[in-house]
Symmetry: C2
Subunit: 207 residues, 2 copies
DNA sequence: TGACACAATACGTACGAACGTATTAGTTAA
DNA sequence: TTAACTAATACGTTCGTACGTATTGTGTCA
């Protein structure tokens, strides 16, 4: 084998730079410099910036999945508490960066979905994959009555993750935890609560 | 007065181009070309792209405020129905663009908040101004019992707008109305509903 | 009334930097 | 020796911005 590859270092650096400055905002040279790698190594390992970004996004998602696992598979907590735990863990991570960075998945959704069909398609897949364990957890909560069964678990999971992205978006402008805490307080006091009345209608179907 | 100014045409074009391609994605030349204006006119009228973007954002917000007014001041509807009407009006607008464009305020929040302190500060102000009429409407709904009073109207308004931004974000990736309809269905069946039980605790305070 | 200075704007062009990408020579280790 | 990779440089384009000049309407004064 030849010299030790800089591929991993480039992806790590790309993760940091793109997380902070977005897809368009992060230049190839910024990334190479952050990785202490020459520009040629980038060309050697990646066909294009777009392909590179897909791999970086994959990395971010892999990290996110770890957090999901950590929170949602903690069977010492009730299903609902597990959901909350996930949001708390993410909150801690966002705080550690001073609330300046949000979620790369959300960032890419807004910024690169119009530019790159490749990224958009992958993002759609990521959302589906992301949602699954949450839907499972919500289904469990519905089975125990901890959450109302008025909506499908998949719809509630989508709602949770999408709205959470919205809270993160607000956080980025406000630069503090208030939008996150507000979301958690309201969501877990309303949507993710036992059914209020006993005469709930049959399960709603989101059209 | 000299020749007819191209300032307005440039702002209109900037609105269209930046709405579609984002702040970084939209080049000065794209905008000038869209306005059928020479590049020099841009320089003549605007100190910088950043300053230009603030004015474009102002334009978008002015349009948004019109929709807010149209929906929230329709006293033929109940307060809660007015909130829903706003979301429906926005849904129609998003549909007319094929769900490819979202909300410029949200887009700029993610994309330009890290780059431009000027834009970030204005965005924070815009959100506060945007929230006010919703908070008033929610307060009215709480007074009539149409919505529970467990949370402050301002917090609920923030929650509504932030989560709605999250739904729009998802819409941009999915390219259809499902995330929007899902949000409306769930939100108005849970958060924006009368208090479920009669023994609600005293009003929660979001920390 | 008419010449003229003025301000505001249009307009074409140019600058320097940064962009993403490509090329080529050199280095390393199996 | 050869494949994999580093390393440096170069290419063509586009970026945001700046400058110099032309053009146009307006107010002023002889």
């Amino acid at each position: 084998m030849p010299k030790e590859s800089l591929r991993e270092k480039l992806l790590d650096a790309g993760f940091r730079v793109m997380y902070g400055k977005g897809y368009l905002g992060a230049g190839i040279r910024d990334i190479a410099a952050e990785a202490n790698a020459p520009l040629g190594s980038f060309t050697n390992h990646f066909r294009s910036k777009e392909d590179f970004a897909v791999e970086v996004l994959e990395r971010f998602f892999a990290e996110t999945k770890k957090v999901v696992e950590q929170a949602l598979q903690d069977t010492s907590l009730s299903p609902c508490a597990r959901l909350r735990r996930y949001l708390d863990l993410i909150t801690n991570r966002l705080e550690s960066r001073g609330f300046t960075c949000g979620c790369m998945i959300g960032d890419f959704s807004l910024e690169s979905a119009p530019h790159s069909e490749k990224l958009r398609a992958r993002l759609a897949g990521i959302f589906a994959e992301w949602r699954a364990p949450f839907a499972a957890c919500i289904a469990e909560a519905q089975a125990t009555g901890e959450i109302g069964s008025a909506f499908e678990p998949e719809d509630l999971a989508e709602f949770l993750l999408a709205s959470w992205e919205g809270a993160i978006l607000r956080m980025k402008v406000e630069r503090n935890a208030a939008p996150l805490e507000r979301f958690k307080a309201i969501a877990f006091a309303t949507v993710f609560q036992p059914p209020a009345t006993s005469h709930r209608p049959t399960r709603n179907r989101v059209q």
